[in-house]
């Protein structure tokens, strides 16, 4: 199988096989199988409550499946301890949330550096890299500003920089534009697309078809805990159609 850009699928980053997740009697995920290759940019779409976040939590190891297997970067998450999952997240993935989840009492730079310090980098090393990332993401002048004084778009850039600190194999984003106005939302999406252009594998959850079409080359539609459709989109055409 080849994706639209012709990447060979020998590097599989995510492999979900028949994943089920029950909350009590309710099946939030009802037998989901999904493969994502290195360098892909995948959007997960679907109505609210369909199981998108749950699916993402399976991939990030923030939650465990009731049954089925989850392989990310070759690691079997089902067999990992809490500590093992934490170490996995540190090294392999970066996460971006709808509500940013920045530490209010740290300035932007330290919020980003934090992720590096957690894997044992010295404060100066981590701050240096954080500073570079802020430059690349166009928020170089916001280093000493606390999250409370940043705009929504700026906060999400800080969150993105934090997610990129440890050069993750996979970047996960759950409704990254959900709390932003459409202009800031577009900018964040553009940023994610640019990252993908540099080879970053992306898995983005959104319920906005316009944004999905704009940035992803593959759209997975989820309904009632199942994958209803999995299609590749011609990026250029989709972008035009959305406009």
């Amino acid at each position: 199988m080849t994706n639209t850009d012709g990447y060979e699928e020998h590097d599989i980053v995510v492999q979900l096989t028949d994943v089920r997740k029950d909350f009590g009697d309710y099946a939030a995920l009802d037998g989901v199988s999904l493969e994502i290759g290195a360098g892909e940019s995948v959007a997960v779409m679907g109505p609210s409550g369909s199981g998108k976040s749950t699916l993402l939590n399976m991939v990030s190891g923030l939650d465990r499946p009731t049954s089925g297997s989850v392989l990310v970067g070759g690691e079997d998450l089902v067999g990992l301890s809490e500590k093992g999952l934490a170490l996995f997240r540190r090294r392999r993935i970066g996460m971006i949330f709808q509500f940013f989840n920045l530490l209010d009492d740290l300035p932007a730079l330290d919020n980003i550096a934090l992720a590096g310090q957690l894997v044992g980098q010295k404060a100066s090393t981590a701050r240096k890299r954080a500073s570079e990332l802020m430059g690349e993401l166009g928020i170089a002048d916001r280093k000493d500003i606390h999250p409370a004084s940043l705009s929504g778009g700026e906060r999400q850039r800080v969150a993105t920089a934090r997610a990129l600190m440890n050069r993750p194999a996979l970047l996960l984003a759950d409704e990254p534009t959900g709390a932003l106005d459409s202009r800031s939302g577009d900018q964040v999406m553009q940023l994610l697309m640019d990252l993908n252009g540099l080879g970053q594998t992306l898995l983005i959850v959104t319920h906005d078809p316009r944004l999905a079409a704009q940035c992803a080359r593959r759209v997975v539609e989820v309904a009632d805990g199942r994958i209803a459709r999995d299609r590749s989109v011609n990026h250029a055409v989709a972008t035009k159609a959305a406009r």
Partner: protein, 776 residues
């Protein structure tokens, strides 16, 4: 009001954990308050009531019947200060009386007999516990405190005077005023060479020593100046009785006050935490149309509810513990039979605590609750998590750049985000450490006091001689033979012999306990608080109790009744405990002792001798010698130490709960932060490290501040206890500290903090994160 009620009930339900913490804290402090107040009340209340009920004499006076007549004494007593009198009654003193009949009670060497025609006098009203009053010659009624147990009249029980007069025991009565050893008819007393008259007074004002002195002066005005030969006051009896509870009162008070302060701190912290974390809740209440007063009321009711329950349970526990403590405190003290039945925790304590504690809780909740009241609804609804105030950000920046592992440096920053909460938590830890320090100090002092009293440092074996009356046949060796025997045993360094007896001192009608010693007392005598040990004839040392009761000084002369009649004795020293007076004048005093010989021997062993083996060797030579290794610690020490440890454990729990509460509040407020940190790869262990670090620093500071405060409190409490019990305590009792201990105590703050933080930290580490991350 029902809306407020419903909202508070919902708030209580949502905050089960904190409601529980509040309840426990209030319970512990209420229990301590009830027990302390009960004990304080027992020191004064029951005695005065019981003494008035028994119409006890405020002053018992003795007159020389050759200097003043009965008519003169009665006439002089006709003063306005005097409320009631009884007497005068002829009084005789028997030296070395004996008893007939089996199981005699053991008469003192010096026995006061009063000739009294009736028991139901207006002062010192006597109630017979057995038999009848003495109505004819050759009959006697014995004064037996009721705590000895019910007495039975037996036909063969007689008291025999030194002159051979036989007095048949026809009744038993207890005198609250301790006015006599026994009573006979006035004629019988005169027949026994009565030389003095006893007069008993109750005064209108008997509140102080000075009032009693003034009353006595007024009641004896016009009598020849040397007619009054001795007086004893009820305040001495009362002071003696108060010594029991007074042992506990100082530190119970301190512990009680500390407990209350800690409770107030914790309540304040819980409520401010509830207000802070409930900003949105407050906003919703206001949006629903709750008035500011109603919002305040919701928060007050929320804390008052667990406070009332905790307080009620605490009162019950406090009365049980307090009642037990009161009985324990009075146990075995002369005169305690007067108060024991009445010495429960007085009823007024309960309403005071039951109303006082919840009011205190509500007051400490008031300030944070007022904050909830002022909060505008819009701000409340939109309030974010931790606010940016004060030094928080700057400190965080510094910490972020430090070399510390990031979880540790993040945790260290938490206290700066909420300075108010940090201050309250810090105070809680300071008080906890202070308590631990103080408790250790008190226990160490008490143990040292016991060592001092038992002389465990210099006396290794004590030998009690069986009393042939109780354990026939008694020792086969005479005192001199026991001395020779012990000195011949290998390992003996020094030996001394002791015997106790009761006699009288001229100028006081109270019974005096005298210890007479012989042998190597120069080596084996107890430590002196003042003066020196006895070196010549007619010298004595006295106890601190005696010292203060009779207000004597070194070099004073007192006159004691001996078997040779009155003997002047010079006071050359003061010792902490022991008998009222200690003498080495064996031959003059030993005939006054019930057994007329040594009652015990003390032995110092040479280095390396096994006391156990030595005691066994002594026992083999004579079954009448009960030898035991001298390591006995007093029950009172054990009681004090167990009371102190119980209180300490309670306060540690309370201050641990304070920390626990703070950590619960912090982790709840930061649950999104914690979720994010986990999502970017913080391991459970790192989460625990971060949360524990957030209070461990507080604990360290609390320890460093609290330990010296505890040492200071110890320095204040021990002398206070000494004064309360009438003892002069040597300075060595205060020197119980060494550097490793103090360092360890300073460290105990961190221990309290980690204990309180561990559970919520683990909870935070385990909490699922997926949920919190996607909600605002």
């Amino acid at each position: 009001m029902s809306a407020v009620w419903r909202a508070s009930r919902a708030a209580v339900k949502r905050r089960r954990l904190q409601t529980f913490v509040l309840g426990v804290v209030v319970l512990v402090s209420s229990a301590m308050a009830v027990a302390t107040l009960g004990l304080l009340a027992a020191v004064s209340g029951p005695f005065d009531q019981a003494y008035s009920a028994a119409r006890g004499a405020h002053v018992v006076a003795e007159f020389d019947s050759s200097k003043a007549t009965a008519a003169q004494i009665v006439h002089a007593a006709n003063a306005p200060e005097v409320e009631a009198v009884a007497g005068p009654y002829p009084e005789a003193v028997l030296h070395s009386p004996s008893e007939t009949g089996d199981h005699p009670a053991g008469l003192p060497g010096s026995f006061t007999l009063v000739g009294r025609d009736r028991p139901d006098t207006p002062v010192d009203t006597l109630v017979l516990s057995a038999g009848r009053w003495a109505t004819g010659p050759g009959e006697i009624v014995m004064n037996e405190p009721s705590y000895i147990g019910p007495m039975q009249i037996k036909s063969e029980h007689e008291v025999v005077t030194p002159d051979g007069v036989r007095l048949k025991i026809v009744g038993y009565a207890a005198s609250a005023s301790q006015s006599a050893g026994g009573w006979v008819t006035p004629d019988q007393a005169r027949a026994l060479h009565s030389a003095s008259l006893q007069m008993m007074y109750r005064f209108r004002d008997a509140g102080s020593d000075a009032a009693l002195k003034a009353g006595t002066a007024a009641a004896t005005q016009g009598l020849p100046s040397d007619a009054l030969t001795g007086t004893s006051t009820y305040l001495a009896i009362k002071a003696n009785l108060a010594k029991g509870p007074n042992t506990y009162v100082p530190f119970l008070t301190v512990f009680g006050v500390l407990g209350l302060i800690v409770s107030v701190l914790i309540v304040g912290n819980v409520v401010s935490g509830a207000v802070v974390s409930g900003f949105r809740h407050i906003g919703v209440l206001k949006a629903l149309g709750f008035t500011p007063n109603q919002v305040t009321a919701v928060y007050l009711v929320m804390v008052t509810f667990p406070a009332v329950i905790g307080c009620a349970l605490g009162s019950v526990i406090g009365s049980l513990v307090g009642g037990k403590l009161v009985r324990q405190a009075f146990f075995g003290i002369f005169g305690s039979d007067l108060v024991l039945d009445r010495a429960a925790v007085p009823t007024w304590v309960h309403p005071v605590v039951l109303i006082g504690m919840p009011v205190l809780v509500a007051l400490s909740a008031l300030i944070p609750a007022m904050r909830a009241r002022r909060l505008p609804a819009a701000v409340a609804i939109s309030a974010g998590s931790v606010q940016q105030t004060g030094r928080g950000p700057m400190v965080q920046r510094r910490l972020g750049g430090s070399r510390l592992p990031r979880p540790v440096s993040l945790g260290l920053g938490w206290p700066f985000a909420r300075p108010g909460r940090t201050a309250l938590t810090l105070s809680t830890v300071v008080l906890g450490v202070m308590t631990v320090t103080m408790a250790l100090g008190i226990s160490a002092s008490v143990v040292r006091f016991g060592q001092l009293q038992n002389q465990t440092d210099r006396i290794q074996v004590r030998i009690d001689l069986s009393d042939p009356q109780w354990n026939p046949p008694g020792p086969t060796h005479s005192d001199d033979q026991v001395f020779a025997l012990l000195r011949s045993l290998p390992g003996t360094a020094h030996v001394s012999a002791q015997s106790a007896l009761e006699t009288r001192m001229t100028g006081s009608s109270a019974i005096l306990r005298v210890g007479v010693e012989s042998g190597d007392t120069a080596q084996l005598h107890p430590d002196l608080v003042r003066g020196r040990w006895i070196e010549g004839p007619n010298e004595v040392v006295v106890s601190s109790e005696f010292w203060h009761r009779h207000k004597v000084s070194l070099g004073d002369t007192i006159t004691l009744d001996s078997s040779d009649g009155p003997q002047p004795q010079k006071i050359v020293g003061e010792i902490v405990g022991g008998w009222d007076v200690t003498t080495l004048d064996w031959h003059r005093f030993i005939p006054l002792s019930p057994v007329r010989r040594a009652q015990s021997f003390s032995v110092q062993l040479t280095k390396g001798t096994d006391p156990q083996a030595y005691a066994a060797a002594v026992a083999r030579t004579d079954p009448g010698l009960n030898a035991a290794v001298n390591n006995a610690s007093d029950t009172i020490e054990k009681v004090i130490i167990s009371v102190v440890s119980t209180l300490t454990v309670m306060l540690i729990i309370v201050s641990g709960l304070g920390v626990f509460n703070t950590v619960v509040l912090n982790t709840r407020e930061r649950r999104k932060d914690l979720g994010m940190l986990k999502s970017i790869g913080m391991t459970p262990r790192q989460v625990i490290a971060m949360v524990v670090t957030s209070v461990a620093a507080l604990g360290a500071v609390g320890g460093i501040v609290g330990a010296p405060l505890g040492i200071l409190a110890h320095r204040i409490i021990i002398p206070m206890t000494g004064r309360g019990t009438g003892l002069d305590l040597p300075d060595s009792l205060l020197h119980v500290w060494n550097w490793p201990t103090v360092a360890l105590l300073a460290f105990s703050g961190s221990v309290i903090a980690v204990l309180g933080a561990y559970l919520p930290a683990r909870g935070a580490a385990k909490a699922p994160v997926a949920e919190v991350l996607r909600t605002e």
